[in-house]
């Protein structure tokens, strides 16, 4: 009996010693992403990108002499799983978390990271993400408000639509983008004839669209995700609604056109430029490495924005010469010159927003390819 007890104590000591050594030797980077579920495509893109960047940095000797250890957690695109992931990653001792893809999941995890002093960088575009005053949160994409203003200006001033419909689901991101767009359109004197909400993944949108049809719109802006946007477009055409269809940034996914089928032709998607169109050498080399390692293009620019967030944090730690997350955040909030990133220059406002904005309006051609109709 005594021997058993001694053995247990010895084993526990050894385990904790080994764990301590491992902790001392690596920089733990968490990935919180929807690796399964509706947005699995994007989530896996984020995880792949983070692992690629980590291996590149590790090959060059790591960060301040420490190797990066990537710990991924699947939030499935749901707030509940995101909250569990946040606790799990914090318990595992990560210094920073890359992700998540959706604003809902980023928001559900925010507070946990803030309390633990863990840096979080997400491509979530909901304005509410940076309105809480958490110094731990760094947005690596451009906020909804930047997109909303671009969309409103394009619809009202460039295309001069008279009857605009705005649709979203109930998610933090889509609802936020739709509300901001509606407000921006009204501010410019545009006419929003209907603001509708759909349930994500419910597939049957014809009842809502039938009501929209009676309002005789000339433009529909869908602020939700591609999994609903593609179906909305297909069912809009099926119902004979002649309006031009505009999808917000989360519609920029190859599955949008597949879901919409032949109805995809002529639909517009508003987003930052796609990976292949990124001009900088740093983007070209990273995308080439990604293709070589995984045999495919990154699913979208969103994963790359997360990589930029990770690069910025690691750059800050290297410049500071330590792994202090507060100091890294301070460094990034007070950048004198923007950093060069894969998705353009990186600089952060005091509230953690990425500064800038670069949007394009892409028209889907008959062969499924994009044609840049308008560039900001």
């Amino acid at each position: 009996m005594k021997k058993t007890f001694r053995n247990i104590v010895l084993t526990l000591c050894t385990i904790s010693l080994m764990a301590g050594l491992a902790w001392a030797g690596t920089l733990k980077v968490g990935v919180q992403a929807p690796i399964t579920g509706s947005y699995a495509n994007e989530g896996q893109g984020i995880e792949n990108g983070v692992r690629l960047l980590a291996s590149q940095i590790n090959a060059k000797g790591g960060v301040l002499g420490q190797q990066i250890e990537v710990i991924a957690c699947d939030d499935q695109g749901t707030a509940m799983a995101a909250a569990i992931c946040a606790k799990d990653l914090v318990n595992k001792g990560v210094k920073m978390v890359i992700g998540s893809y959706t604003s809902t999941c980023a928001e559900a995890a925010q507070k946990t990271y803030f309390k633990a002093g863990v840096l979080q960088t997400s491509d979530g575009t909901a304005d509410s993400l940076t309105e809480k005053g958490y110094w731990t949160f760094l947005r690596n994409s451009f906020p909804n408000s930047a997109e909303a203003e671009f969309v409103a200006n394009y619809l009202v001033n460039v295309k001069k639509y008279k009857r605009i419909v705005v649709i979203s689901d109930f998610s933090t991101y889509a609802d936020g983008l739709a509300n901001a767009t509606e407000a921006a359109i009204k501010k410019l004197g545009g006419n929003v004839v209907s603001r509708d909400k759909i349930k994500a993944d419910s597939q049957n949108f014809t009842p809502v669209l039938t009501n929209i049809k009676s309002k005789k719109p000339d433009a529909i802006f869908s602020a939700g995700y591609y999994s609903d946007g593609g179906l909305l477009r297909a069912q809009q055409v099926a119902l004979g609604i002649k309006a031009d269809f505009y999808g917000g940034d989360a519609n920029d996914n190859p599955d949008f056109a597949k879901l919409a089928g032949s109805a995809a032709t002529g639909a517009f998607i508003i987003n930052v430029p796609e990976p292949a169109a990124l001009p900088t050498p740093i983007a070209k080399s990273f995308i080439a490495d990604y293709q070589q390692k995984y045999g495919e293009m990154p699913p979208s620019i969103w994963g790359l924005m997360n990589i930029d967030g990770m690069r910025a944090i690691i750059h800050a730690m290297e410049q500071n010469g330590n792994f202090d997350t507060k100091k890294a955040a301070d460094y990034l909030h007070n950048l004198s010159t923007p950093l060069e990133g894969i998705t353009g220059s990186i600089a952060f406002a005091k509230d953690g927003n990425r500064i800038g904005g670069a949007y394009v309006v892409k028209k889907i051609q008959k062969d499924g390819s994009y044609y840049n109709e308008y560039v900001q």
Binding site: K199, P207, S227, A260, S262
Partner: protein, 298 residues
């Protein structure tokens, strides 16, 4: 008026899909007094089976013949799965308490759902555009080719099933087994074969429903069977569970109810109203619309 007719067309389309799936629930319940909760997931599985047949067996051919073969092969595969399901999950429990069989059905549902996820992955898969996007504008009401096909094929299948059950000797065996299994056995009816037949018919109709979901909505996910299964189950109760014309009627009514609530009240409330409807039926008329009028349940 335009909107009303358009919602009517929408409701009939989804209603006929509900009805096809509801038939699987109601036939099994009629004979075995068992709610086959795995049926919704069988429907989802059939959409994935159809997708695989399209890509692997048919080499992505989109001709009419190819579409017919996809339907027949999917129905055949799902009929086999249905028979296996009955053998493995339900037959050993036939003499056991009712609750054991229901738990077994729930377990089978999870096994099938996770099986789909393991085989085809957790991502949404895109169903090919096998039916060309053709539309007719009838004075403001737009009807698409796929809607016409779904409605027509569903009605044909339902009439055929009704005639089969009412007019043939095998149909008589099904009806006899649903009234009293022991008496049917004494009359020389092989009840095991009847139950296998029920699963073959129910699963094949469910397979057609699953392919319709794939063709109409294009995006298919491993867990969609739960949603459609639940709707079809409500449709079966609405019409009177165990009653074949009742399931058809219940499916159509539920589709219309759903479309009109979504159209005139709010699409986000459609689900809530559907369940309120279910509760009201269970309180006011627990046997469903056609539950009492037809004495013999199938």
């Amino acid at each position: 008026m335009d909107i009303f007719l358009q919602q009517l067309a929408n409701g009939l389309t989804i209603g006929s899909m509900f009805a096809l799936v509801a038939l699987g629930y109601t036939m099994v319940y009629g004979v075995m007094k068992l709610i086959n909760f795995a049926h919704g997931d069988m429907v989802a599985a059939s959409a994935f089976v159809g997708l695989t047949i399209y890509t692997q067996v048919m080499g992505q051919a989109t001709s009419l013949a190819a579409v017919i073969i996809i339907f027949l092969l999917s129905a055949l595969v799902m009929a086999c799965v249905g028979v296996i399901l009955e053998r493995v999950a339900y037959r050993p429990l036939r003499e056991a308490p009712r609750l054991s069989a229901v738990v077994s059905a729930l377990g089978a549902s999870l096994v099938i759902q996770n099986g789909i996820m393991l085989i085809w992955g957790p991502r949404m898969r895109i169903f090919p555009e096998l039916v060309p996007q053709v539309y007719w504008d009838l004075g403001g009401v737009v009807i698409s080719l796929i809607q016409v096909i779904i409605l027509a094929l569903s009605l044909i299948l339902m009439v055929a099933l009704y005639l089969f059950v009412e007019k043939t000797r095998m149909g008589a065996a099904i009806r006899a087994s649903s009234i009293d299994q022991d008496a049917a056995r004494l009359m020389g009816i092989n009840v095991n074969s009847v139950i296998a037949l029920i699963f073959i018919i129910g699963s094949s109709l469910g397979a057609v429903g699953g392919l319709f979901i794939g063709l109409y909505y294009r995006g298919i996910t491993f867990n969609m069977g739960w949603q459609y299964g639940l709707y079809a189950f409500i449709a079966a109760i609405l019409g009177g569970i165990g009653n074949i014309p009742g399931a058809m009627l219940g499916g159509m009514l539920l589709g219309l109810f759903n479309a009109f609530i979504a159209g005139y009240v709010s699409s986000t409330w459609a689900d809530a109203f559907t369940f309120i409807l279910l509760i009201l039926i269970l309180i006011v008329r627990p046997t469903g619309i056609l539950g009492e009028r037809v004495a013999e349940k199938v």
